[in-house]
């Protein structure tokens, strides 16, 4: 695993996990409306 490999894996993971956490946080804090 080269330095670039770690970099690509780290950045990809951070972007995706960050987006997922942000989305679920917003979903859970938004008022649950009647669906």
């Amino acid at each position: 695993m080269t330095l670039y490999g770690w970099l690509f894996m780290g950045v990809s993971w951070i972007l995706i996990i960050g987006l997922t956490v942000f989305c679920f946080y917003r979903v859970l804090v938004e008022k649950e409306e009647d669906l």
Partner: protein
């Protein structure tokens, strides 16, 4: 008009859409695609495709579906005319019922293999198959493709899988699909995390595997095939362009936030794919088989990795029996949350447009699909399953996505589409997406369509690579697909005519 079904909670619909998107491809197809197309460098076109193609298509399909639900419609043949004010576009919408129905017919059989393998992992049968050769022999015998073998065991697990799917579909949106996905999705992520931790503790070879997947080869970026592979992977993994998301979104209320829900479902799918899917199969293969063995296994294809390489590896490690069971249970959960969604457009069409109760609609369609499922089961070795996958799982998907974008953004109009997407949304889509949705996304789709057609589409249509003995079966499959498409188009016309007579359509 009868009351349409509704989702129970916001989280429920997100889990259902994510469940539809997370499938076998996340854990098997993605790592092979990435490893074969530049490793870490593959993520550059992959992320660009996700931002320029995947996310816009997700929002567009959610918005079209919710818009259709306002008028009591859940499928494309009756939603498209609301966008285009043209009664002929309903026939383009037939693809949105035909495609998922055909995928269901063969996908459920593959899903049943996973259930069978989970059972054999639990009983220890898979542990006794220590080499790739013996595991391949077992797979061929299970599929009835080895000399002297039969499909009795496979057929038993198909029946169990079909009944399970049928019960969930029969119970409806809130009582069936939403309940399943609320349980199955957290379970799926838990299983994947346990397997991931076990794989990461397999030794120094794991780092070689991660390196094989993530070390970037920047020279790959000048190759159009790499860009096509990335765009194709994003398109297939998100389940956009099938018609399922449209139907799911039609069960929303008009005030629901589709911008956030769509983005959450997409990011959940990406977590399953890039973080979990990218860290299990290839690293495990490298840790156990070494560099040369793992590269050979990766070249053998995603399907072989899942059904042959992985159980052989798990059979040689401590706690392998449990890990092997979790592996196939994980894939089965990924499969069933997708397969129940594939039937929903057809059920919604019969129920919405013929005013038939859901349970009656589900029963009729389950009976029809049970009969149709027999063809890929009985003629697996003759290429019927591959043929169905080509037309429904690849061709229809790209064509339908292109039609959706064109109708919603260009015909319905960007301003109205933008307002529709933002109705009830707390998150605002960046304005640059007006340009992306209008020009970049359709151009990207056309690029995928044209290059895919040149690369493999034309050869498949001309049956190049199909053995002489299999050609009649492939041809018969194509005729069957045309008949099915025409049959759905006939019922669309009939429902349209009925509604016109009753004054529901002017």
């Amino acid at each position: 008009m009868t009351q349409r079904e509704k989702w129970g909670t916001k989280l429920g619909v997100i889990m259902a859409v994510a469940g539809s998107a997370v499938g076998l491809g996340n854990f098997l197809r993605f790592p092979v695609q990435a490893a074969q197309h530049g490793g870490g460098a593959f993520m550059i076109p992959y992320f660009l495709a996700f931002i320029l193609l995947g996310i816009p298509l997700m929002w567009i399909e959610w918005a079209i579906g919710r818009h259709g639900g306002l008028f009591g419609h859940g499928t494309a043949p009756f939603i498209f005319p609301r966008l285009a004010q043209n009664r002929f576009v309903k026939y383009l919408g037939v693809i949105g019922i035909f495609g998922p129905l055909v995928i269901f017919i063969y996908y459920i059989y593959i899903e049943s293999w996973l259930l069978g393998y989970a059972f054999f992992a639990l009983t220890g049968k898979l542990l006794s198959l220590a080499t790739p050769e013996s595991m391949t022999g077992f797979l061929l015998a299970y599929q009835g493709l080895a000399p002297g073998s039969n499909i009795l065991t496979a057929y038993f697990f198909f029946l169990v899988t079909f009944v399970l799917n049928g019960l969930i579909i029969y119970r409806g949106i809130r009582g069936g699909i939403e309940k399943l996905c609320n349980i199955a999705m957290p379970l799926l992520f838990t299983f994947a995390l346990i397997i991931l931790l076990r794989v990461l503790s397999m030794g120094p070879g794991v780092l070689d595997g991660l390196g094989f997947l993530w070390n970037p080869d920047f020279s790959a970026l000048v190759d159009a095939k790499v860009w096509l592979a990335a765009a194709g992977q994003v398109l297939f993994t998100l389940s956009v362009g099938i018609g399922v998301i449209m139907t799911y979104a039609s069960y929303l209320s008009h005030g629901d936030d589709i911008v956030l829900s769509g983005l959450t479902a997409a990011s959940t799918n990406e977590s399953a794919e890039v973080v979990l899917g990218g860290s299990i199969v290839i690293p495990a293969a490298f840790a156990f088989l070494g560099v040369a063995g793992a590269q050979a296994a990766a070249r053998s294809g995603a399907f072989n990795l899942g059904f042959v390489t992985m159980p052989v590896i798990f059979g040689h490690i401590p706690f392998g029996q449990i890990i092997s069971f979790l592996w196939f249970a994980l894939l089965f959960l990924a499969g069933i949350t997708s397969s129940v969604s594939l039937m929903e457009p057809a059920v919604a069409f019969v129920r919405d447009e013929f005013r038939v109760e859901r349970k009656i609609a589900a029963k009729r369609l389950l009976l029809l699909t049970f009969v149709l499922c027999q063809f890929p089961i009985m003629f697996l070795g003759q290429g019927v399953l591959d043929e169905l996958d080509f037309w429904a799982g690849t061709f229809c998907l790209v064509v339908f996505a292109t039609i959706e974008v064109f109708l919603f953004i260009w015909v319905f109009g960007m301003d109205k589409a933008w307002t529709e997407m933002h109705h009830g949304a707390e998150l605002k889509i960046p304005r640059v997406y007006r340009f992306i949705m209008k020009y970049i996304t359709p151009a990207f789709l056309l690029f995928v369509l044209v290059f895919w057609f040149i690369q493999q589409g034309w050869a498949t249509i001309l049956m190049q690579g199909v053995g002489e003995a299999n050609r009649p079966y492939v041809l018969a499959t194509r005729i069957g697909l045309i008949v099915l498409f025409a049959g759905i188009a006939y019922f669309v016309r009939k429902a349209w005519y009925n509604q016109k007579i009753s004054g529901e359509i002017t």
